[in-house]
C-alpha cells in the first residue's frame, strides 16, 4: 500500500505540473502514480483537476491568460492520457452522456474543448461533434446516442443565433432533454430567451451545472417510470 505521505506528495506533484504547465512533469507524476499502485481516480480528481481548479482561479484573477490556460489544459491531458486506462469507476453520483459542439459557421473551439475536458475527467461519455457543426447534426447525434445533455458553443454573435434553432428542434423531439449553451456572446439573458436550461460562464461552472442537470433529469425519468409502474 502507498503511504499517506507518498500519496500527498504525488497529488501535489500532479497539481503543480498542471499549474506550471509542465507536460513532462505531469507524465512523470502519472507514471509514478501507477508504479506505486495509487488509485487513479484519486490522482485525477485530487491531483490534476485540483490543479486545473487553481488555474481557473488564476485565470479569473488575471494572473494567467489564454496561453497559460491552454498549456495547463495540455499538461492535464498529458497526465490524464496515462491515468485514464486505469480508472476503475467514477462515482460522482450521476453519470451521463453528452453531445457537444460548436455551432455552424463558428470555428472557435477552445472553450468547447475545455468544457469537453471537464466532462472527460468527470467520467461522462462525450460525443464531440467538433466545430462548425451543421445545425441538424446536434439532434441527429442526440437521438443516435440517447444523450442526457446537449452542449452548444458559439463565439460570435452571428453564429449564436443558430443555437436557437437547435434548441427548438431538440425540444420538439424530446422536451426533457437538458441543454447548455456557452461562449463569449452568451449570457443568462440569452439562455432564457433561447430556452436553454443552463448557461456556463466557464468550464468549472459548466461541469457543476451539468452534473446538477443530469441529476435532475435522471430523477425525472425515475419518477416517470415509477408512475408508469403504478
Amino acid at each position: 500500500m502507498v503511504t499517506e505521505e507518498k500519496k500527498g506528495e504525488l497529488l501535489e506533484k500532479l497539481k503543480n505540473a498542471v499549474i506550471s504547465y509542465d507536460e513532462d512533469a505531469a507524465k512523470e507524476a502519472a507514471q509514478e502514480v501507477l508504479a506505486v499502485g495509487m488509485n487513479a481516480n484519486d490522482a485525477i480528481f485530487n491531483g490534476l483537476v485540483s490543479g486545473m481548479v487553481e488555474v481557473g482561479k488564476m485565470f479569473e484573477a488575471q494572473e494567467y491568460f489564454v496561453p497559460e490556460l491552454l498549456m495547463c489544459a495540455d499538461a492535464l491531458y498529458a497526465g490524464l492520457d496515462i491515468l485514464k486506462p486505469h480508472v476503475q469507476q467514477m462515482d460522482l453520483g450521476v453519470r451521463g452522456s453528452v453531445v457537444i459542439g460548436t455551432v455552424e459557421g463558428d470555428v472557435h473551439d477552445i472553450g468547447k474543448n475545455i468544457v469537453k475536458m471537464m466532462f472527460d475527467v468527470a467520467g461522462f461519455q462525450v460525443y464531440d461533434l467538433g466545430r462548425d457543426v451543421p445545425l441538424d447534426k446536434f439532434l441527429e447525434e442526440q437521438i443516435r446516442t440517447d444523450s442526457d445533455l446537449v452542449c452548444l458553443s458559439a463565439m460570435m454573435t452571428t453564429t449564436m443565433t443558430g443555437m436557437k434553432k437547435v434548441i427548438d428542434d431538440l425540444r420538439k423531439k424530446n422536451p426533457n432533454i437538458k441543454i447548455m449553451i456557452g461562449g463569449a456572446p452568451v449570457s443568462q439573458d440569452v439562455a432564457d430567451k433561447y430556452g436553454a436550461d443552463g448557461y456556463a460562464k466557464d468550464a468549472t461552472n459548466a461541469l457543476k451545472d451539468a452534473i446538477n442537470m443530469v441529476g435532475s433529469l435522471k430523477k425525472m425519468k425515475d419518477e416517470a417510470e415509477a408512475q408508469k409502474a403504478k
Binding site: V66, P67, E68, L70, M71, A73, D74, Y77, I110
Partner: protein, 215 residues
Amino acid sequence: MNVGIREELLGQGAAVVGYAVLTGHLGAEIAHLDRAVSIGVARRLNEDTLGILARLQQRVVRRLKAQGYRTLAVPADSDRKRDTFVSKLYALFNHKMAATSAGIGWVGKNGLLISPEHGPRLSLTTVLTDAPLAADPPFAASRCGACTLCRDHCPSGAITGSEWSRSDPYVELVRLGECRGHKAAGRQLAGKPNCGLCITVCPYGRKNAELSRCG
C-alpha cells in the same frame, strides 16, 4: 537581464540566438508575452533539426520558468502536427517577424529569413516570455540589394523581386500559390516536393559566394 541563455544555446547546437521586444506586434491573446528568444539552427541534411530545435526550446523554457517567468514555446513551422490546446495560438505568431526583430536577419526576396552568416539556411523557432530580456538591435531593411539570383532561378516564377523592410512588411515577396503548385507538381512527378533552389543559390552564407551585388 539574463545573458547566459544565448551562450548556453550556442554551446548546444544553435547557430544564432537573438532577443527581441515585440510589444505591439502580437495578437491580444499573447500580447503579455512580448519578449522573444529567437533561435536558429543551421540546416544540415540527415540531421534531426526539429529535435534539436525542440531541445533548445526546452532549455530556454526551463531556465526562464525556474526564475519565475512565463513562457510560451512556439514550435518550428514544420513541427505543428500535434493536436493540442495551445497549438491553436501558433497561427497568431510568425517566427520570421521575431527573428528580424531579434537582429538575426532580414526577409529576403525569396521570402525566407536571411542571416548574414548563414543565409536562408536556418530553421527557426521562438520562445515567448515576459522576462525583461534586453533586445538586440533589429533589422530594419533587406540587405539583398541588387541581387536577383533567387528570382532568376525560381522554376515557377513565384518570386516577385520586391524587397522587404520593417516599415513595409506586407509587400508581396513570393506568390505562394505558384510556389506551392510547383512543389505539388514535383511531388507527383518525382515523388518529392523538394525544390529549394532559392535557398541553394542565395549567396549569403554560401561558400565561395560572390556578394558584390548584394548590399
